[in-house]
Symmetry: C2
Subunit: 150 residues, 2 copies
DNA sequence: GCGAAATCGTTTGTATACGAACGATGGAGG
DNA sequence: CCTCCATCGTTCGTATACAAACGATTTCGC
């Protein structure tokens, strides 16, 4: 008897189909989200990471650079670049921490505060559009499972 | 009556919670997968994209550079770098296409073929470990939903 | 045929992503 | 007090990721 499902493969293991691998699918879904983000973020001209950093600064008020990195899942080296660009655009402030001289304290400027407040609805629309193919129940199920993979 | 769930927010829209956004979750899941990949790929010293390119070349035999990019979801500029590094390691060959002088034809070398054959089981193990938190039914449901987001 | 449009591969510039190493500082323990 | 260790922010090197523009080539429309 020949196996039907695996056709002409004689080895024991299942075939490695790139399109079925979770890593490949995660990468493609992330690509699509980034494209949607860029299309829908509008005038703000923010990248997903810059948006995330501003949102967290909006939530937290003042926070050290490394702590902001942990809250937004960026490592210290990546944080450098993101912070540098937000500083250059005058969206955030930076001052030394009085109690720990290793640290710097980050916070939003007035420009940063109004820009992220205006962009917040876009953030919701972007998440919505990314999940456009799924109905409400499927979205809840997908997000719950996705959270367990982090 | 005050709303309980939204506490002190007076606006109409839902709060923007970074940790609940699909883009942020996709990014973190992809980060975790990349870390697992690096841990488990072993001696082969391949990145996820290099692995994907070799797998597709293994499946297809000969293919143009742009076509390989489409099959692996890489744009032409990204492809450049990946192909350059695989060429430098002697894992792939490159020759002009006789019928279309714009194209180059890519294929695996003997080294490339044996390396990807040896690494294929690692690919399965990496996908398995990435999904470690989910049972069989959850994995199927998650992958089916994830495919619909690409 | 022939001019326009599309495709192929390349290069440049910007922005993640992260390992590794670094100097400066802070905290813990003897 | 003083040494060891951890943490903070920085820099360097490598590898995606993609927009944009480019020259060379092919195909399409008429």
């Amino acid at each position: 008897m020949k196996r039907v499902a695996t056709a002409r493969r004689d080895d024991a293991g299942p075939a490695y189909v790139l399109e079925d691998q979770v890593g490949h699918l995660l990468r493609r879904a992330h690509q699509r989200h980034a494209a949607i983000f860029q299309d829908m973020i509008g005038d703000a001209q923010l990248t997903p990471l810059q948006f995330a950093a501003l949102v967290k600064l909006h939530d937290l008020g003042e926070v050290s650079q490394n702590e902001l990195g942990r809250r937004t899942a960026m490592d210290a080296a990546t944080m450098q670049g993101v912070i540098k660009r937000l500083l250059a655009r005058g969206l955030i402030d930076r001052k030394p921490d009085a109690e720990d001289r290793r640290r710097v304290v980050l916070s939003l400027t007035g420009d940063g505060r109004s820009l992220i407040a205006a962009a917040m609805p876009d953030g919701h629309a972007i998440s919505d559009e990314t999940l456009a193919g799924l109905d409400e129940a499927e979205r809840r199920a997908f997000l719950a499972l996705l959270k367990r993979l982090t």
